[in-house]
Subunit: 455 residues, 2 copies
Amino acid sequence: MQLMPVTDSMFLALETREHPMHVGGLALFTPPPDTGPDYLKSLRKELLTDSDVRDVFRLRPATPLSTRGFLSWVEDTELDLDYHFRHSALPRPGRVRELLEVTSRWHSTPLDRHRPLWEIHLVEGLADGRFAVYTKVHHALMDGVSALRHLQSVLTDDPDARDCPPFWGSREPRRNRERPGPHLSTWLRNGRRALEELAGMAPLAARVAREAFREHRLTLPLRAPRTMFNVPVGGARRFAAQSWELERLGAVASAAGVSRNDVALAMCSAALRAYLLDHDALPDVPLVAMVPVSLRPRVSEATTGNRTGALLCDLGTHLPDPADRLAVIRRSMANGKRLFGDLSPWQALLLSALNVAPFAAAPLPGYVTHTRPAFNIVISNVPGPRSHLYWNGARLDGLYPASVLLDGLALNITMTTSGDTLDIGITGCRRRVPHLQRLLAHLEDGLKSLEHAVL
Amino acid sequence: MQLMPVTDSMFLALETREHPMHVGGLALFTPPPDTGPDYLKSLRKELLTDSDVRDVFRLRPATPLSTRGFLSWVEDTELDLDYHFRHSALPRPGRVRELLEVTSRWHSTPLDRHRPLWEIHLVEGLADGRFAVYTKVHHALMDGVSALRHLQSVLTDDPDARDCPPFWGSREPRRNRERPGPHLSTWLRNGRRALEELAGMAPLAARVAREAFREHRLTLPLRAPRTMFNVPVGGARRFAAQSWELERLGAVASAAGVSRNDVALAMCSAALRAYLLDHDALPDVPLVAMVPVSLRPRVSEATTGNRTGALLCDLGTHLPDPADRLAVIRRSMANGKRLFGDLSPWQALLLSALNVAPFAAAPLPGYVTHTRPAFNIVISNVPGPRSHLYWNGARLDGLYPASVLLDGLALNITMTTSGDTLDIGITGCRRRVPHLQRLLAHLEDGLKSLEHAVL
């Protein structure tokens, strides 16, 4: 048994029915040539015999609920792979729409804390013959970036390789692999910081932390308006996803002298503006996005634990001209490398004006609805490998991240790249963000208008 | 807003991740002749337009958590039918086995308390062309009997009728229908009883209630052994189901001069004995079943609220001879009409030696594992209509109840009749009752051995 690092246990302590704290990923694959109708069934059967499970996927909370603010991990000695690795199917007509609908459902239910905190669905029934893999991992085990990196790490760029480990496995020989825990406890070793963060967790100390944050907030570079996204959330989710050719973004970036990431943010800005206009809810002042920045070197490093920074980006949503919005975003991202400073990034996120609610709702009635948010939305962009990836001969066609929502943050956009495409996953509160899928069309329109403006 | 009756709110107050408090039903249908492959898709689309939702399916808890021990219902003004009524599919090869697997998953996740407490899945993908409907309703709204009665009430014995309401509807004209609540509050009107029950709910008062029960238990007619089923449970479930020809049970009943219900209990006894022998875990003394008895007149009455009594039945599992076991069961059921008396039936169930755990686990460590249970298993038999039932031309082939488990009760058997068959649903803790589906074969063997013994 080992004590959890505070950053990990925080995600268990804060989890409620309205705030499931898992991250998800939806991967689309084209099966290898010459596979029959029972390909997935036999694939699953074969994988179930491979019980070389990565250590982090063997851990479960020692007690399902927090005891005196501390949680610890134990190894699950009764690991039931058949429970974690599920075979599912889509109803007819088996379009991406049906896939997104079942993914939305799966992303809405909290993980069972009596077992290691992950689930993987192998999904058949897509009319075009492809299959999907939906993975769900608790944020206490891996943040969204680590979860994507993990998934990418079991893939290969060799279409002929057949030695890819299962989705819960690892390419590392067992003896070289991370021991669960010790290296996770960076935060705990830094005693002062850990204590500060603990203070942020305990309900009684929440006010103190909040005061600290309020002071801090005075020095924030931007002030965000209140929007329909900055409200308390329910537990149910909607998930939408789509891919865009990176070449299209690259062309806009080159022509406008900005980064591809700026173009992606400008697409989001255009989509949010159009969506809010649809709902007659566009504020006069621009929306502010919190853009997480990895504090961890890329790819080669261990893929567990949570290390994320953050900066704030002016999305320029009040400007009707797409080129003007892109310029504002470019400037904001270039100047805006101001991290939250003294606050750890996740403390910043969780204690931001709107996010105090999960553990301080009772002493602070109305806090969520009556305070201006520090930002309106979290938009993450997690670069992936440029080469095409395969899993035992099956080609990865897209990998779409599904994220965590919190009170005050009813919408999240997370992107990654796989091969030649930018893959965007949008997670929203089912109740508060109606017709979420329309954002996909607005993203495409946003890119088109940028192309029109600068090419 | 209206205060919930204590018997209803109890099920919300006791619910935890390990103890989801919903009842389920799995119905198998043969579609009407001449339906195409998109029958279910268009059926669902059509049903979604029918928003005449029974009042009880519009209620949600006013607060998701209990406040000062009281909970109240409010009407959900944003009812999202598309959330509650889901289209799902089975993976290949689409046998009953795959159906039971996905049903097990659905039965394992708690309902979202921010919405009316029900879900209905329309399931396609059975290889034999049939379809299934899995319904999930919180016990605070309906007990298992009421849920079955509700489902049966939207069906008809006319294969040509096409006016069946949707599964959340009612045949009653709206103005004649129950108002939600007032008639549910029988218990509240009986002030003394309500207070006693409240005392049983509050954690601090649990000890007092337990003492009362312990005294009471001295006068119980039977003492149950400890078995592998009488242990704390996790949140995940396994569900198995099968039908038997009522004619076969009737033949045994006539020949042995017992009731058909006695024969059904003897099948269960045989199956439990065989299963426990498989696990080298059969106790020397007989298992005791708690057999709930409805305290409500049948069929015509309102189908909401919880009214159940209980008696204890000696299952004679220690006896190797099937005829001896049947005789013991017949005698026990004939003599055993002793209700729990002063305790309300559900208080008896929840406070029985093993069931104190959900709200008194902390002050009573080891209580569940070190105390002898008052009974080993709950076996319910809910008679249904004898005629064949249809839903808008689709023939009901079986209706299998899925039940609630509690600490100390890791296995439940619930039966009902539909047309010519006895339909048995078995719900078990996924961790504690391995190979649950083997009980189905043991039930069949049990019936065969009875036929062999008495015919």
